[in-house]
């Protein structure tokens, strides 16, 4: 059928091959390329109008910069277009389902963004006199109170800048507590399924990492754990729910055992989303736990940060918490900024200023929006969604551990054996289906791991479509008919598979002008 200017309007009536059609510009309709910013500059342009500098005699002590820096000069619309084009080459939670296990990619409410930019919050200086920032200190204090109530813990350190920084905070407190007792303990027990940050953190605190194996049901092997206990053990770092998406049901016994040898219990709170309002870690015997505000409390991931990782402490470790912290007094709020007085046992300062205030604002807005009822609903829907995905796929994919999972569903690659299709290939084929892939090859204890965390933000309709699409892909892979469908994926992303090997072998980490 032709329209009134005689053009064919049905694809099958069109001539020629659509696939692999190259355009003059390299763009493909809405897929718009942009060169490096350095390739777009032209002297004489400017993107910010500035007033003329005052006439002055320079006081730089003879240290004026010489020569050009090499920055490109562009106008505002060019810069805007550059970054808009770049943004369109990214997948995002706003645009689609992002089931990245252990990362908790949930909805990022925009009221939180608005709050972080309010006058008096987004624009105040960290070293203003405390009487001019009482609202800011009150906000930090109140967020801390919420975190203490949610976790059932008596103390909180707000300054750590991210999850791994929070781990460092927790383990430093453990080290400081042992040092204060004059005990030189050397080992820290870490299950083999832990995030890499756990052993890296323990090493920074001078501890040897002793890995504890898992039981066949995916939990830490408590018998192996017992066998490793001794007077030289400083503590245990346990992720709960763990990285296999399972609740460590021996957690109270583990706490008793570690306390029995004079050690401390560090809980990695990366997966806290699953247990919000259902249990309080204070009731599980935990001595320290970091909370990723950028996961559980939805401060956006921002393409890899900034994060925020406050740490809650038991009474046993509270005295060693880092400075600064907010103190509520009769005449308002103040900051304890130095290691002295009430803070004399503090292990020190971990970060410039007082913590990730912008993240605190967003997290508190998120908590207020949910309240006690909503926080509990988060955990329930997150766990329900993960189990719904699990039962939707576990006849085609193998779950290494039977039964109910928490916030994420874990599969191995055993049902892909001999198909010529790997976990990586499945992930890349998911990209063509319009999804961000699940976490792959983590945890390391499961072969070809696929870790799927839907979060509470996703509707049943989204999950049904996802399950359908995964079933389609897995069945197709298992049929062995067209492995190239997978090995050649992704086809429709802004880039095909990238050569990561040569990127690492001959690293090119910056642009350089071809003239130089």
């Amino acid at each position: 059928m032709l329209n009134n200017v005689g053009r064919p309007t049905r694809p099958e009536e069109m001539d020629g091959e659509v696939d692999n059609f190259e355009t003059y510009t390299g763009n493909k309709a809405l897929n718009l390329e942009t060169p490096l910013i350095f390739e777009q500059g032209e002297p004489g342009r400017v993107g910010v109008d500035l007033p003329e500098p005052k006439e002055f005699t320079d006081r730089l002590g003879g240290l004026s910069r010489e020569g050009n820096i090499g920055l490109p000069d562009l106008s505002e619309p060019q810069v805007l277009r550059h970054y808009v084009r770049l943004s369109r080459q990214n997948y995002s939670i706003d645009a689609g389902f992002y089931p990245l296990g252990s990362c908790t990619m949930k909805h990022n409410p925009r009221i939180n963004e608005k709050a972080a930019r309010l006058p008096g919050l987004g624009d105040i200086h960290p070293l203003q006199p405390v009487e001019t920032v009482q609202g800011a200190l009150e906000l930090i204090y109140e967020l801390g109170e919420w975190l203490k109530t949610i976790t059932g813990m008596p103390a909180v350190a707000m300054s750590p800048a991210a999850g791994a920084h929070g781990e460092l905070c927790g383990v430093m407190a453990i080290r400081a507590a042992h040092d204060a007792k004059g005990e030189a303990r050397t080992r820290i027990l870490v299950p083999e399924s832990a995030h890499g940050t756990n052993p890296a953190t323990a090493a920074l605190c001078g501890y040897k990492v002793d890995a504890v194996q898992a039981r066949p049901d995916g939990r830490m092997d408590i018998e192996a754990f017992k066998a490793k206990l001794g007077p030289d053990v400083a503590g245990v770092m346990l992720t709960n729910p763990n990285t296999c998406g399972l609740f460590e049901n021996d957690v109270k016994e583990i706490a008793d055992l570690i306390h029995g040898v004079g050690g401390y219990f560090y809980c990695d709170g990366a997966n806290f989303n699953a247990i919000l309002g259902r249990t309080r870690v204070g009731d599980l015997g935990v001595d320290a736990m970091h909370i990723n505000l950028h996961k559980t409390f939805s401060t956006p991931h921002g393409g890899g940060g900034p994060g925020s990782g406050p740490v809650v402490f038991s009474d046993a470790l509270a005295a060693y918490a880092p400075v600064p912290y907010v103190v509520k007094g009769e005449e308002g709020y103040r900051l304890q900024e130095q290691v002295e007085g009430d803070a004399q046992d503090s292990f020190g300062r971990m970060k410039g200023n007082h913590g990730q205030m912008g993240m605190f604002i967003r997290a508190l807005a998120y908590m207020l929006s949910h309240g006690a009822d909503g926080l509990k609903q988060i955990a329930e829907d997150a766990v329900l969604n993960a189990n719904y995905v699990r039962v939707g796929l576990n006849d085609l994919l193998h779950s290494p551990y039977d039964g109910i999972c928490m916030h994420e569903a874990l599969f191995d690659d055993s049902t892909l054996k001999d198909t010529g299709v790997t976990t990586l290939d499945i992930a890349k084929a998911m990209i063509d289906e319009g999804y961000h892939p699940m976490t792959m090859y983590f945890p390391l204890v499961v072969h070809g791991a696929m870790l799927i965390e839907p979060t509470e933000s996703e509707s049943k309709e989204t999950l049904d479509m996802f399950i359908g699409s995964m079933r389609h892909l897995i069945s197709k892979a298992q049929s062995g008919e067209s492995p190239e469908h997978f090995t050649q994926a992704p086809r429709f992303a802004p880039r095909r598979r990238l050569d990561e090997t040569s990127a690492a072998r001959k690293p090119v980490l910056r642009w350089t002008s071809s003239a130089s």
Partner: protein, 449 residues
Amino acid sequence: MRYMPHTEQQRQEMLQKVGVSSVDDLFVDIPESARVQGLLDLPNHMTEMEVDARMSAFGRKNLSPQNAPMFLGGGAYRHHVPTVVDHLIQRSEFLTAYTPYQPEISQGTLQALFEFQTQVAMITGMDVANASMYDGATACAEAVLMACRATRRKKAILSGNLHPHYREVTETTVQFTEFSAESLEPALDNVENLAGKIDKDIACVVVQNPDFFGRLQDLSDLADACHEAGALLVVVVTEAVSLGAVKSPGAMGADIVVGEGQSIGVPLSFGGPYVGLFATKQKYVRQMPGRLCGETVDQEGKRGFVLTLSTREQHIRREKATSNICTNAGLCSLAFSIHMSLLGEVGFTKLARINHGNAVAAAEKLDAIDGVDLLNDSFFNEFTLRLPMNAEEVVSKLAQKNILAGVPVARLMPGEGYDNLLLVAVTETVSDSDVEELCAGLKEVLNAE
């Protein structure tokens, strides 16, 4: 609850599919004695309108620099951020993406990081930079760890004129490692014998430029002394705008440059999140902490970018990693990069000249006040004044007049006898009338004594 899509009926259907009769059955692994009965002792959920009002109320209790002439620095500076910057970083595709582990659908973040790394390397005068750190102070601590690894030595010397937060964070970070950091006393007379401290056991010397008191110094001789002894020179820059006017650390012989990038594109936000800068020489690339983005090609030969050299990082190397860092300052580094792209060569160097010019003019006016002395021979946009009375009291009294006068040095360096010293920063956001107001207010406070 507006953020959760399930209807009650859907929840029931899903529970049935999962094969359990109630949601409680999904939480049976939690020990019975530790299960929360009912709800936590917290208020129930709020409407967006209520949250908005509650958050605004926090803001109203603070004195916003929008309503007060503002002269605070000390490692965080008020600069004008073009509107485009905040608009762009709030685009969904930047704001709500994860770390770019799937490069085919993360080229936006990756190319922006590659451009950020290039900009940071250019302004610091170094070969390469990483994709950012938490902030300047943590970047400083990581630089010391890296210098110890690279030289296989165990001790760092920190200048006494280093920002106290940077010193404290570095000391905290190394305290349980095999490495150590020795800090010198602050030197108000600017006579500090760092070179004399260097011997064959020293991994690095850490020095700030401009220093905490705002003074500039040529570090070339110190760099030579370091290199002669096989040690590295780590240069800290807490005011990134200064790099538009001052000779770069790279040009003075620095081996590692770390700094705070907040001044470019990132709001003050009561101290965080900010963006740590980390740059070094090509030969130390594999010793660097943090994420690195590198250029490569895809299978069709198109240029693309990936995270690279990840064998340094914790998710591969675990306890042998160069750092435990996982997250960087993603969105803040993007803001930095966009602002820097808008400024360009012309804008960045001009912005620096405006800052310096404003500071020179303000310093002259303040120095002319009876009893007030300017201590700096040299400075960029921040300088130290000696007042005839306690600086904290002066600042407090001026705050009552809605003037944010500066940072009392003793707040960050207590117990050093610096009670009368005031650190004053003057950026492009400070107008002539702001300076008039500060001078008048200061005279009033001093004369009332």
